[in-house]
Amino acid sequence: MSPLELMRFAAGALRGHRLRAGLSVAGVAIGIAAVVALTALGEGARAYVVGEFAALGSNLLIVLPGKTETTGHAPLGAAERDLTLDDYRAITQRVPLLRLAAPLAAGSETVRWGERSRAVPILGTTAEFLAVRRLRVASGRFLSPGDPDQGGAEIVLGPVLARELFGAANPLGEVVRVGQWRFKVVGVLAPRGRSLGFDFDDLALVPVRTAMRMFNRSSLFRILVDCHRSDDLEAVKRDILALLKERHRAEAVTVITQDAMVAAFSSILQALTLALVGIASVSLAVAGVGIMNVMLVAVSERRSEIGLLKALGASNRQVLAVFLVEAVLLSSAGGVAGVVAGAALVQALVEVFPQFPAAPPPWAVAAALVLALAVGVLFGVWPARRATALDPVAALARR
């Protein structure tokens, strides 16, 4: 009996109870669709986050002050472990491979203009920040370049903040109050959108020295370092660590590369995807039990057929094959339907949220189909074995 004839025979048997077969196919299809859709969502989330990081610049190094929380308990003289503007200057002057670096001081304050006010994050930085963070200015100019220590009373607004405070009016040249301080608006950023949960549209940028004075800080929040090539990242990181170690006489800073963060996020999201798929697989197990149930009913319903097949000279192996192929046909039909349904679901989602790059990865589609096949075999074997174990005489006796 050739595989093709076996399949034709099994398909003929399934046509005998379309509703039941259809329902168990639907069960598998739901499970497979869930696997495909959730994999696509997980992969989409990963691609989205990685893309966001890439937009920020993947040649980026981030220097964080280390152990600042221990300052109060440290012996006199060790308090200099904070990341200072002098550190920043030293880095820009003595690390040859870097392209640009920008210091960052951060705080939160209310910005007022006339009657209106809005509390936003205030970032203190230098002119280099614009290039390092890949931002653009929509109108006016960015912070003026020069000595980071000079401070100044100029401010650049994010587009949302500018719109909220000024409405249709032109903010350029206006004076705003930030806490007790007065600033002149010199520019407005172009919309950049949210990036990794931080809204670059709803903030204000001021000179770093001014921000440190305003928030009464001696330490920087971060130093962002942009390299020419991603191959230089390790060398630059080593140089910065060596430099700061020499300056602080102790290693008290952390340098992370953007790549490391991307990799960390990527692997977290991949784990999340696998967890989602694992949960979806549970529904496949349920669908498998459904197939087993349908096949058990089929075996007990078709006792006389099994007896007849044996009387006509079908071997146990052939009877087993007939019922196993039926189960596998059910599950693989469900697999194909599930992949189609899952892909359609993802497609519908992409229609609604075009910026979310969700697509079922090919490996997930292949895995889903293999999984469906495996479900059919796994849950079809036992009913098929029951069919072969049937005594033909007893099976033929009743009809």
């Binding site: 046509r15 006389s304 006509l312 000279g313 071997s315 146990n316 005489v393």
Partner: protein, 244 residues
Amino acid sequence: MIRLDDIWRTFSVGGAEVHAVRGVCASFAAGEHAALVGPSGSGKSTLLHILGCLDRPTRGSYLFEGREVARLGEDQRTRLRRFRIGFVFQFFHLLPRLTAQGNVELPMLFAGTGREERRERARRALHRVGLLGRAHHRPDQLSGGERQRVAIARAVVMNPSLLLADEPTGNLDRASAADVMALLEEMNRDGLTLIVVTHDPAIAARAARILRMDDGRLVEEWRPDAAAPSPPGQADAGRGTRSP
């Protein structure tokens, strides 16, 4: 062709032993037409299943074409059923989802016969039972007599040497029964050994030899054209006898 020697078939029902067949001895020559009669529960169907290799005797020897069937493995018994033995049942046992043609092709499907040859041989078998015109009807579109004729076509399509019929006319009206018996007898005249289980005396009387079973034993055997019933074995010349 067939020799049964001291065949026993014992079932255990709820812990108790039930002897469906008790020490049957008989032999059937090639091309013979024999009827197996007896009341319900006399063991005639069980004996037929043993003859058809669907069931194994608990004890005793069953020689089929010179081979000891009791010692054959499952695969060889399957091959005997496939190539040497044809079955006809009281309830026809046609698969309702297949056409007459498809049902007749079934045994060849499991034998691995090619598609073209299957179709050709099934058509010939259907022609032989006079149903070629109904080849593409499903069983529910056929009358009882037609269904049984399809079943006969299916039973002979593999050219077996033995045809076993279990109450072949039990579900048919008198006219259809006569048609079916005529057909079976025609197969028998072409050389097929025919053993019919029946409790209809008229059907049994058409056989050359009648064996009567009661309570699992072969109690008497006679030839309808001969005068009186004789104890089993005596009509069967050259065989050792055994009293019931």
